[in-house]
């Protein structure tokens, strides 16, 4: 009954139909080479670390050398260890988590991750440190392009992440690690 009343009041009160403007086009010419540099610049601004390796093989070696203890959800066996119904107390023990990003956005260093990338939705948030691997060709210019890619998402949950969790609620002092990852890095390959 609340539903009908709300809808009825809207019908009585709304203005005459205004047209929906044409989708906002990305204004500038595409500059594929500049995208990664723009992304890196923004990543630094939002407090994220940045590594760059040459291709998938080098990435493998790099991860083995620099993040040997990471819980790597790019691997099938990790999914078995942390199934979707994994108790949250166990997830709360996660230190360094590694995920594969789907694509990045140059204008704000956000990376899209939907739930095909992790078995439990808490994982990207509850880890102390988050590392996202991103194929360096998978970068779009802005959020318009981003949503034309992710907008077709049919999974139950997806998120753009840009940097570590942060707060400035105490006197506007920026502090990393409010509730989510305290440390955040991207490895381009």
């Amino acid at each position: 009954m609340d539903r009908d009343k709300i809808l009825q009041t809207i019908r009585e009160n709304k203005a005459k139909t205004a047209p929906l403007p044409k989708p906002f086009g990305s204004p500038t010419e595409k500059q594929d080479s500049g995208l990664i540099n723009r992304f890196k610049e923004m990543l630094q601004q939002v407090g994220g670390g940045c590594f760059e390796v040459n291709g998938a093989e080098e990435l493998h070696a790099f991860v083995g050398e620099h993040f040997p203890g990471a819980t790597d959800f790019r691997k099938e066996e990790t999914w078995k260890e942390f199934p979707p119904d994994c108790p949250k107390e166990k997830l709360a023990q996660l230190k360094t988590v590694m995920l594969e990003g789907q694509f990045g956005v140059a204008e704000n260093a956000a990376i899209w991750l939907d739930e095909t990338r992790f078995p439990n939705r808490l994982i990207p948030f509850i880890a102390e440190e988050l590392i996202v691997c991103l194929y360096s060709k998978q970068i779009v210019q802005d959020m318009h392009e981003a949503y034309s890619k992710s907008g077709k998402n049919t999974t139950g949950f997806g998120v753009f992440i840009s940097g570590p969790s942060k707060t400035a609620d105490i006197e506007q002092n920026l502090v990393f690690g409010a509730h989510g990852a305290k440390k955040y890095s991207v490895i381009f390959y």
Partner: protein
């Protein structure tokens, strides 16, 4: 003297803090400017956002129905609440059905507006606000003073003292990093225990039935993904048509709010987690009524970024609490009198009408024009204080006739110069409170003009 002015006077008593508040919010405004300037198409984006909202509001019933259908298809349960009381009942009903007593909540001005926390607390359900700023003010049993930075009125020493008392942090340790770490540990426990998580909603996408929540802390996600039951509370005006339109608003929101290119987390909740429940409560509470107020309709475009507060010379110097309304600042001064005209009839006057709010608004709401219109409506409805009404009436008469004007000017110039200070700065002279009247010129402009320009000819020089 009116409510806002009195409260502002209280706020200004602590000069150091008031100056800090003013400067800090101005820094946020400058960060916003830097971000806006870095996007060459910024003005087009604002126009686009404004038009999208214009369209959506003109088709709001259809979009709500589409959203509901899509969300249900996704497996979410959709509820409708006509007013605050009904909203509180719906939410407490969901909590009760699940025999839950532990609830976490991320920031939602809508639940603040409806008084959800006190309602649930009366029913024995403990709600923990999980945004750091909100947790701080919840401990202090205070309302937020800003919609994006709820604890901006507090200094770190006060928060250190508060955390020492509530969370047993070291006495005298006011380091923000230390205090944030303590809150993290405290709230991590709350997240893991919670049976129900409540969130507000930044945008609801009709095409896909998705609700979108933006946070920097990650508290909405920690709550939603850890608790078996998630409840998203959304005002009807949060609808947007499609994902295509979402991009426009995500680009504008964080840049306008805090001068960030995007919030750390932009989360898209579409289906319940495996074995979990997802509820969406669609709330009206006066919004559909507001849609019919043609002159003020645009206020429903608001995306709650807070940019109008950060830039407002009155807000910055009077603090959010001085407004006494759920949403303070310029946009709050439009909305509050509509919900309760008697309590908030002074808020449209809490503005210098400088227009800065309208300039920074990412959805181009004509904020200062609406405030000006409110003043006229209020005085027509005789809803302003008698002092203001009579002063205006007298001023109107004086300004309408040139003889009266000349005479009054002369009197005022003489009076300010010759009358005793006590008489000039009397109780009725609210302008002169904490402010010096300008130095009196020897002659009026008219006299000066006559004296110097007479006989010079020129277009307007005939004397």
């Amino acid at each position: 003297m009116t409510g806002h002015a009195q409260q502002a006077g209280q706020f200004l008593k602590n000069r150091e803090r008031a100056a800090w508040h003013d400067e800090t919010l101005w820094i946020v405004r400058q960060k916003r400017d830097k971000m806006a300037r870095a996007v060459p198409e910024w003005e087009d984006l604002r126009e686009q956002a404004s038009q999208i909202k214009q369209h959506t509001l003109s088709e709001l019933d259809n979009y709500l129905v589409q959203f509901e259908k899509q969300a249900q298809k996704n497996g979410a349960q959709v509820h409708w609440a006509g007013d605050a009381a009904r909203f509180n009942e719906v939410v407490s009903g969901i909590i009760k059905e699940n025999n839950a007593t532990k609830v976490v909540k991320s920031k939602s001005m809508l639940t603040e507006e409806c008084g959800l926390n006190p309602f649930l607390e009366k029913k024995g359900i403990g709600v923990t606000d999980t945004d750091l700023g909100e947790r701080i003010i919840q401990f202090r049993e205070e309302p937020p003073s800003h919609i994006v930075m709820p604890a901006i009125h507090l200094k770190k020493e006060e928060i250190g003292e508060l955390f020492h008392e509530k969370l047993h942090t070291e006495k005298g340790n006011f380091d923000p990093t230390y205090l944030t770490a303590a809150a993290r540990v405290h709230l991590r426990q709350k997240f893991l225990e919670a049976e129900v998580a409540i969130t507000g909603v930044n945008f609801a996408v009709a095409e896909t039935g998705t609700v979108v929540v933006c946070t920097n802390e990650g508290n909405a996600d920690m709550g939603v993904h850890a608790a078996p039951v998630q409840i998203h509370c959304v005002g009807i005006e949060k609808m947007i048509p499609r994902m295509t339109e979402l991009g426009v608003f995500i680009r504008l929101l964080a840049r306008s709010a805090t001068g960030q290119p995007i919030t750390t987390y932009t989360s898209h909740y579409q289906r319940p987690k495996p074995g979990g429940q997802m509820h969406i409560v669609i709330v009206d509470n006066g919004r559909s009524e507001h849609l019919g107020r043609e002159d003020y309709r645009n206020a429903l475009k608001c995306i709650r970024c807070g940019a109008c507060m950060n830039t407002c010379p009155v807000y910055r110097r009077s603090g959010g609490h001085s407004y006494g309304s759920v949403i303070p600042g310029p946009i709050g001064s439009i909305l509050a009198p509509h919900s309760h005209i008697k309590n908030y009839n002074d808020l449209p006057f809490a503005s210098s009408l400088c227009g800065s709010c309208s300039d920074v608004c990412p959805v181009k709401i004509d904020i200062h024009d609406q405030l000006y219109r409110w003043r006229q409506d209020l005085s027509e409805k005789k809803r302003i204080s008698p002092t203001k009404r009579h002063t205006m009436k007298i001023a109107g008469k004086i300004l309408a006739g040139s003889k009266m004007y000349d005479f009054s000017g002369k009197m005022a110039r003489w009076g300010i110069k010759n009358l005793p200070r006590k008489l000039v700065y009397n109780r009725l002279n609210v302008w002169g409170k904490e402010r010096e009247l300008p130095e009196v010129p020897k002659e009026s402009f008219k006299q000066w003009y006559k004296r110097t320009q007479q006989g010079k000819g020129g277009k307007n020089g005939q004397g």
